[in-house]
Symmetry: C2
Subunit: 185 residues, 2 copies
């Protein structure tokens, strides 16, 4: 895998389509990863992301104490791993080891990147005031790295029940999006 930087302001290009993502954290030097389907962009600039990480998730404590995580975007080749990661807990197993994921040092946070993913979005918690009520963390994207060399770029969209829609063809309607042209830069 090679890594190429992308401005954090481009996080919406990766997350607005709604792919299932992997969330990495590192507490006391110990990396962990979970699967997350409840997330959205909140604003373009600064790039804020809302995500739900349950208080029952091992990652919840790590995120609260470190204030940092990485949202890694997997593609279809990792589908089974994505499901299996969501079905065990970091309190019991080292998921990076169990699932053969390669942690790579991030640029701005302690949480690791996942070498096997298409893109990695480094995030810091920007607002935790909704965590107590909804387990809703508001993150700010502070760095993004992508793998420009990988050919498999089809992401997965979890339909909530263990079935996933895989990206099919890409429709290009950019010329109709006159009001939001600046988002195409």
């Amino acid at each position: 895998m090679t890594l190429e930087s992308m401005p954090p302001s481009k996080a919406y290009r990766l997350l607005e389509p709604g792919p299932i993502v992997l969330v990495t954290t590192a507490q006391g030097g110990r990396p962990n990863v979970m699967t997350m389907g409840f997330h959205m962009m909140i604003q373009h600039s600064p790039p804020l992301i809302g995500c739900i990480i349950g208080s029952w998730d091992h990652s919840h404590r790590a995120l609260r104490s470190t204030g940092e995580c990485v949202l890694a975007v997997p593609t279809v080749d990792l589908a089974k791993t994505v499901v299996d990661i969501g079905n065990c807990s970091g309190s019991e197993v080292d998921k990076f080891e169990r699932f053969g994921l390669t942690p790579r040092p991030a640029e701005k946070v302690a949480a690791p990147l996942i070498a096997e993913c298409l893109a990695n979005i480094e995030c810091r918690v920007a607002d935790d005031s909704m965590v107590a009520t909804y387990n809703l963390f508001i993150l700010e994207a502070v760095a993004i790295s992508i793998d420009p060399e990988r050919t498999e770029r089809r992401t997965l969209h979890h339909r909530g029940d263990g079935t996933f829609a895989v990206d099919g063809r890409i429709l290009d309607l950019r010329e109709r999006m006159v009001k939001w042209r600046y988002l195409q830069d």
Copy 2:
């Protein structure tokens, strides 16, 4: 179009995959519709949905004053309309008329369903405390209707720049999702 009811608790089956959606409102009996890409599930039960509707959007005022909206899920056949709806304002045009959309009475809210969509999720505002800070509305799904007869069921995932990933093949990994079996009911 025929309409079939689906429990509101199943909203995640429609929204967790991250499709672009249409949001309808009705203020003073006047229906309006906008395109929305920033939304997520917040919890399964009761079914809470987070969505960003900018204070600059005509629908923002309608949603604040009525507390009701419908999230309609379009499919690929409506792609151009989805983009065009997002590029004009209900303050200037009757978008149902301009785009040939058929409003249908909803079961529990005043906002209309869109007959041309795959599914319609009727929602009430459950929490508007984050609206001032982030334009973030927390909605509760109170009714869902789907069109079981339509053959085109591929939804659209906005990549943020006017390009869309269309649903491709469906991967069925339900047998691996042991921890969350109850979500498959």
